[in-house]
């Protein structure tokens, strides 16, 4: 399964790990922040619609 | 001299006043009233051209307005004379003698502004208006920290200015002795909450509503 990386295994793998972690981090942060704001917005809109009657 | 119509102003992205309109002719004074937070400061800053109005128009000549806000524009390390002279020069005006006399600053002439008491500093800030040579004075709570005698000096200065063809707008919570000044209460200009939502109270956020 794992390809033969020779003497540079550590470098190559760590490069991939670091990059994927950073990418994952920004994706996760974006989605979480998006979900939070959407939730808040929903609650405010619901409140407003109720107030409007 | 000043012609305001349909003015709406915002602070922090919220429309605080809308539909404000009035005119001011030479020799007239206008007193703005309203509870804390109604938007007096915001309105004055808009009239002075420091922030753009949301809607409506302010018709006013070039170089007509002199504005005095909550802060005095006084350099603490310069003396009273130096402070006044500087503003006189910036506005291309003349001497500072009349202003010093009108606000009873002669005794403090060589005092650094940082060593003035709260009321003395305010007097200096008010004296600045006299050296601008501008016809329309706008004050935001001019009498803060002033004692009765100093308030008297201020009233006299404004009356002389009006008599000389000037005009003045001031926001204040206390009763001044300017009996012939018009009073504009700002409370009715608050945008109606239940009313048409974006109709007469547009803000920068409009696009998002």
């Amino acid at each position: 399964m794992m390809p033969e990386l020779g003497k540079y295994a550590v470098e190559v793998i760590s490069a991939y790990v670091v990059s994927v972690a950073l990418l994952g981090g920004i994706v996760w942060a974006s989605l979480r922040e998006g979900a939070r704001v959407r939730r808040e917005l929903r609650s405010v809109e619901a409140r407003r619609d109720r107030a409007d009657g | 001299m000043l012609n305001v119509s349909g003015l709406a102003v915002a602070r922090g992205g919220v429309c605080v006043l809308s539909g404000v309109g009035f005119t001011l002719a030479p020799g007239q004074a206008l007193i703005l009233r309203g509870p804390n937070g109604v938007g007096k400061t915001t309105l004055l800053r808009t009239l002075a051209g420091l922030q753009p109005p949301l809607a409506g128009s302010v018709a006013c000549g070039e170089d007509v307005i002199a504005y005095a806000g909550h802060a005095d524009g006084v350099k603490p390390t310069l003396t009273v004379t130096e402070n006044l002279t500087f503003w006189a020069q910036v506005f291309g005006g003349g001497g500072i003698g009349a202003a010093m006399a009108a606000f009873d600053l002669d005794g403090l002439a060589d005092r650094a502004a940082q060593n003035l008491s709260a009321g003395q500093k305010r007097r200096l800030g008010l004296a600045r208006m006299m050296v601008t040579g501008r016809p329309l004075w706008m004050f935001d709570e001019p009498t803060v920290s002033l004692d009765a005698a100093s308030v008297g000096l201020f009233e006299t200065a404004v009356r002389v200015h009006l008599a000389g063809g000037g005009a003045a707008i001031m926001a204040t919570h206390i009763d001044l002795g300017l009996t012939d000044a018009r009073v504009l209460d700002l409370s009715p200009f608050r945008p109606q909450p239940g009313g048409v939502r974006t109709g007469n109270a547009p803000t920068g956020d409009e696009a998002f509503l």
């Binding site: - | 002075a48 504005y67 909550h70 005095d72 524009g73 390390t77 310069l78 500087f86 020069q89 910036v90």
Partner: protein, 218 residues
Amino acid sequence: MIALLRRDMAVATRAGGGFGLGLAFFLVVVVLVPLSVGPDTAVLSRIAPGILWLGALLACLLSLDRIFALDFEDGSLDLLATAPLPLEGAVAVKAFAHWLTTGLPLTLMAPVLGVLLNLPVPGYRWLLASLLLGTSALSVIGAFGAALTVGLRRGGLLLSLLVLPLYVPTLIFGAEVARRGAEGMPVATPLALLAGISLGCAALMPFAAAAALRVNLR
């Protein structure tokens, strides 16, 4: 304009105005370098032109918030904006006053500190020339940064962060002139580039700064 220049100079040179402190900071940084790097003269004289330029830049940076922040706090800036001066002119004058009270003294002091770092003798002339040209660019660029951050409380560090990358070209060419000068190499090219940057900044930055200032006063 003249009145504004005079007042700014007066405020800066009055007690507590910050004149002299930039110099002192420059001095202290330069003194601390041997303490932290170690006393090896060869190393020191190798890095001397660079450190002198960096020290001058940092000293200049720290006094930037003086350009507008004080005037903003005490309300003068509102009043200046409503005064019969073009705001661009006021910005230029204020940046010039800043240079006169910071950049110029720093430049004049740099050779003295050069001695502390064993700056090679041929370097002094070019160090002076490059600082004289370069600090003026630093002041105008700094005025732009100060205008961007003027409304913010404790804008000081943010100001540093925004301005430092903008200082990079000036620093590179300036330090290059000083370094080549110290090593006796020809300095014409970087000097010309430095002069170009200074002139360009002086001509264009006041407009950007005035625009930022107008937005901030809203």
